[in-house]
């Protein structure tokens, strides 16, 4: 059945929704903190990038299943 062809992109899409929400919150708080204290901007930026990499990793796990199972799609 072609359920795999439907399930894989849907899985990645749902993972992207979750990470989009998480990243929005993280970057939003970082922007707010930068507005409150402009002299701490480099540290906040570094912490924001590192936090974004962690949140992004969860979507990458979903993308991995596409790469691994993608060959099975006829």
């Amino acid at each position: 059945m072609e359920l795999l062809g439907l399930a894989l992109p849907l899985g990645v899409g749902i993972a992207a929704v979750g990470s989009g929400l998480g990243l929005g919150r993280a970057v939003g708080s970082a922007m707010e903190a930068m507005g409150r204290q402009p002299e701490a901007i480099p540290q906040i930026q570094t912490a924001m990038i590192i936090g974004a990499a962690f949140i992004e990793a969860l979507t990458i796990y979903a993308l991995l299943s596409v790469f691994i199972l993608g060959g099975k799609l006829g």
Partner: protein, 293 residues
Amino acid sequence: MSMKYFTLLTLLLAALAFTGIAVAETEPGSQDDHAEHDPYHLQNFVTLFFGEQLKGHEGFLEPIFSAIVAVVMMTILTSVASRRTDNPSRLQVAVEMLMGGLDTMVHGIIGETGRRYTPYLGTLFIFIWLNNLSGLVPFFHASTSSLNTTVALAICTFFYVQAIALKENGIGGYLFHMAGSPKSGVEWGIFPLMFVLHVAGEFIKPMSLSLRLFGNVMGEDKLIAVFVVLGAGMLAFTKMPIGIPIHVPIVFLALLTSTIQALVFTLLSMVYIALMLPHDEHHGEAHAHETVV
């Protein structure tokens, strides 16, 4: 002066662009019988010259490029090491800035006693960074874009962290830490459960480290390959062997994610080491025992 650099940079970018397109066109026999050969695959100089001999031994590809990166790293770094002079060259200043930055990062996360772990963590960062970037060099292949290298690095880090924990806490202290450091009667009661949880948590750390690095680097390389193939086929109606280099913005994105992923791997290793060290001077703060995935 700036005109010379500008033309050099443009030539470099054009060379990158067109080489990428050229090597994507020369894919090995895509009319094979095994259907799992993906059409989005950039060549490197090993598969070009030794493609047939590599057929049954795909695992040989990664160590070759890891070794090349290691040799390049050692050449550059040892040529400026321990050179005490009042007038350092630009390369020496750059390398020392990198070392200083790494040392500051380790000091910030692990503390003063953590400086002795800087050699391993610094080497880890530079190795992963150069390996990620070598996927962008024409005719090279990023060895971290395969699970072989990333799992190897994660296993090395896992054994290093456990060895540090054993050395710093002793065998009894290590088992005590694994049991969640029980202090009250309740905690001694659930000691077996916490032990299993902590041991499972220890094993999931290298797994997530390796999968994160592998996913990001392979994702970027495959993205570049997809854009190269797309760009190569854009002007196909003119019947000329010319394509449009639309993969150049993705190459810049790959520069960013290569650095960030190397940083994240190293930072997480530092955090795992910091979690293992005896931290009895911060009794007031929250005992950070959650597993970072």
